[in-house]
Subunit: 355 residues, 2 copies
C-alpha cells in the first residue's frame, strides 16, 4: 500500500454554516467564501500538518515578505456538480503541476502532490453543499501560496502558507467585450515571470486596463514588450483568433501562461477537425484580417470565464468591429468543454475527475 | 493657518517597551521592529484616520487582493541620529513622491503628503530611543501599501492599508560582492513596472539570484530583457561603473528605478568635479574595460547598503576581477553621503531634514 496523508489532515469543522445566508442567484464573483479553508504552513524546511478549518482571517506580521516582495503564486480551478449530485474537477493535476512551476520561478518551495489532492478533495467534501448544479454554476477554487516570514530584507522567505479557499460562482463575464491592443504597456519580459501565475503579474495590468476603460474598452490585449507587434494574452486570459475557418493562438513561452482552458480548447478543436495554428500572431495580420473580413472571431480563454468573446478591438486610434458568425467556434467550443466539465457528455480526454 | 492633520493621528502607545530586549550590536537586517507602527486604511474612497499603535500582527482575510494580485508597493528610507541626539531624515519628500508614483502604476490610490510626513515624524518621535547614534547605525523605515479588499476577482481593490514600520539597522551588506551578468533572466519589461517599487519585482529576482549563487556569485546584474546587451540594475540596487576617471550609470527609464541614493551620488560626484556619464552602458564596453584595465570600480547603490562594492563579475562563462584603486570613488562617495546623513558636515544640497 502506498502511504497516504488522508488521515493526517487535521479537520476543525465550523459550528454554524453560513450557507443559508447566501443568495446563490446573485453571486458577485470571488466575494463569497465557503465555510472552510485548507491551510498548510512551511516551516523549518518542511510543510507542516495540513489543516481544514473554519474560513476566517489570517493573523500575519506586517513585515511578512509577501507584503514587501510579492512572493505569492496562485491557481484558479473549478468544481462542477451534475444533476445526480456528483462532483467533478477538471484536470486538477495540471493545476497542481502549474502551481509548483510558478512556485519554483518565485523561489517558493514545492507543495507535495498528496497534500494538494487530498486537501482539495476533503475540503470539497466538507463544503459540498456549496456546489450547486445547473448550467454556469460552479465552485471556484483558489489554491495559493504566500511568504509569511517576518523580515523586510529582500530575499526569499523561509516560511510560507499554502491555502485553498473556495467561492461559489455563476458566470464571470457578462456579454461580449471590446478590447484595446497594447502599444505602450506590457505584461511580461523575456526571462521574466509571465508564464507563472505570480501575484505581481496581475497588479501590473490594472493601470493600463483602466486607461483602456477610459477609451471605452474593457480589456487590454497584451503584445510583446520588445516590439508590440505580436499578440500575447487577452487581459488575464489566453487569446484566440479565428481567421476564416482556422483557429489561431499564440504559442506558450516564458511570457505566456500555459492555460489549461487554452490547451483543452485546442485539443477539442483538433479532435473535431477544426484547423488550428499555434504560432506567433502579428497584430498587423489581425488588423488586415479585420479589414478584409477574414477575421471571424476573437476570444479570451481561461478558467473563470471559460471563453470570453470579443466583439471589437481598438488599435492605433482605429476601431474594428468583429461580426461573429452564426456558427461561432467560441460558443461551440465552450459548450463542448462545459459538457465535459458538467458530466453531460463522454470525456474521451480523461480530463474529468470525480470527487 | 494651514490645516494640519497632526492632531488627528490617533495614538495608542505600548504599555511595555521591547527596547531592553534588543541586542543592538547584533542586529540581523529587517528582523527587529520598534514598539509602534503607523497604519491608515483606505475605505469608501478615502484614507481614514491614521493611527500609531503597538507593533503587532494584522488580521487580514485570506482573499485579500494583495495575496492574489500583488497590489503592493513600498519605500525604503532611513533615520540617523547624531552625537547630540538629533534625528535626521534623508530626502523624505522623494520617498513620499516615489511611493505615489509606484502606487499610481499599480492602480493604488495616492497617499496624502501630510499623512505621510506627519505619520513618519510622530512615529519616529514615539520610537526615538530605537535610533542609535554612531557610524553605520540607523533606523530603517519601511512605508508600504497593500490591497486588503477581500475578493479574488482580478481587478484593483477598493480597500487598502498604508503602513510604516521601522527596524533598527547596522550595515546591510558585509564585504565586496561578486556578481553575475544576466544573459537569460530579466527584471523588467518595456512598458512594465520596473521603475516602481512594486512587491512583485523583487520576488521575480530570487530564483535567478539563487542560480547565480550556485555559480559562486552573490547578486545578478540585470540587463535589458530584449537583448541582454545593456546594464540596468545591480540586484535590488542601481548600478555604477568607473572607467578610468569617469563615473557611469544607466539612465532611469520605465525599467529602472529612480534611486534616491543613485541621484544623490551623481550630484555629489558632479559637485566634486568627478566626470559623470548617465547613458546606456553596453555589457561589452564593461567587459572590454575589465580586460584592458580601464574598469576601476563597479558598485551598487541603494538606501539599505548605501554603496555595495563589486569585486568581480561573471559573464558568458568568464570571470573578471576588478582591482579597486586605493582612492576609490565608492568609499569617497559613500563617506560624503553618510556625512550628510549623520550631520557630520554641511549639507549644501538641502537633503537633510531634522525631525
Amino acid at each position: 500500500m502506498e502511504n497516504t496523508i488522508t488521515d493526517s489532515i487535521k479537520i476543525t469543522p465550523i459550528t454554524t454554516s453560513k450557507l443559508d445566508k447566501v443568495d446563490f442567484d446573485n453571486l458577485s464573483f470571488g466575494k463569497t467564501f465557503t465555510d472552510h479553508m485548507f491551510e498548510c504552513d512551511f516551516k523549518d524546511g518542511v510543510w507542516q500538518t495540513p489543516q481544514i478549518k473554519p474560513y476566517g482571517p489570517l493573523t500575519i506580521d506586517p513585515s511578512a515578505r509577501v507584503f514587501h516582495y510579492g512572493q505569492a503564486v496562485f491557481e484558479g480551478m473549478k468544481a462542477f456538480k451534475d444533476d445526480k449530485g456528483d462532483v467533478f474537477l477538471f484536470r486538477p493535476k495540471d493545476n497542481f503541476n502549474r502551481i509548483n512551476i510558478s512556485a519554483n520561478r518565485l523561489a517558493i518551495p514545492s507543495f507535495p502532490e498528496q497534500y494538494f489532492m487530498e486537501g482539495l478533495k476533503q475540503l470539497l467534501k466538507i463544503d459540498e453543499k456549496w456546489i450547486k448544479s445547473g448550467a454556469g454554476n460552479s465552485l471556484y477554487i483558489r489554491p495559493f501560496v504566500i511568504a509569511t516570514q517576518a523580515c523586510v530584507s529582500a530575499a526569499e522567505a523561509n516560511e510560507y502558507k499554502f491555502m485553498i479557499i473556495c467561492s461559489p460562482a455563476q458566470a464571470y463575464y457578462v456579454g461580449d467585450v471590446s478590447v484595446l491592443i497594447a502599444e505602450k504597456y506590457s505584461r511580461s519580459a523575456n526571462g521574466g515571470v509571465g508564464y507563472a501565475k505570480a501575484a505581481g503579474n496581475y497588479a501590473a495590468q490594472f493601470y493600463p486596463t483602466n486607461l483602456a476603460k477610459k477609451e471605452g474598452y474593457q480589456q487590454v490585449i497584451w503584445t510583446d514588450a520588445d516590439t508590440h507587434e505580436y499578440m500575447e494574452e487577452a487581459g488575464t486570459m489566453n487569446i484566440f483568433f479565428r481567421i476564416n475557418d482556422t483557429l489561431l493562438t499564440a504559442p506558450i513561452s516564458d511570457r505566456i501562461l500555459d492555460g489549461i482552458t487554452r490547451k483543452s480548447l485546442l485539443e477539442i478543436a483538433e479532435k473535431e477537425g477544426i484547423a488550428t495554428e499555434v504560432r506567433p500572431i502579428k497584430v498587423n495580420e489581425i488588423v488586415k484580417a479585420a479589414e478584409d473580413g477574414g477575421l471571424k472571431e476573437m476570444f479570451g480563454a481561461g478558467t473563470a470565464a471559460v471563453i470570453s468573446p470579443i466583439k471589437a478591438f481598438g488599435y492605433k486610434g482605429n476601431h474594428y468591429e468583429i461580426k461573429r458568425p452564426e456558427k461561432a467556434f467560441a460558443s461551440h467550443l465552450k459548450k463542448a468543454l462545459m459538457d465535459i466539465q458538467y458530466n453531460l457528455t463522454e470525456d474521451p480526454y480523461g480530463w474529468r475527475v470525480k470527487l
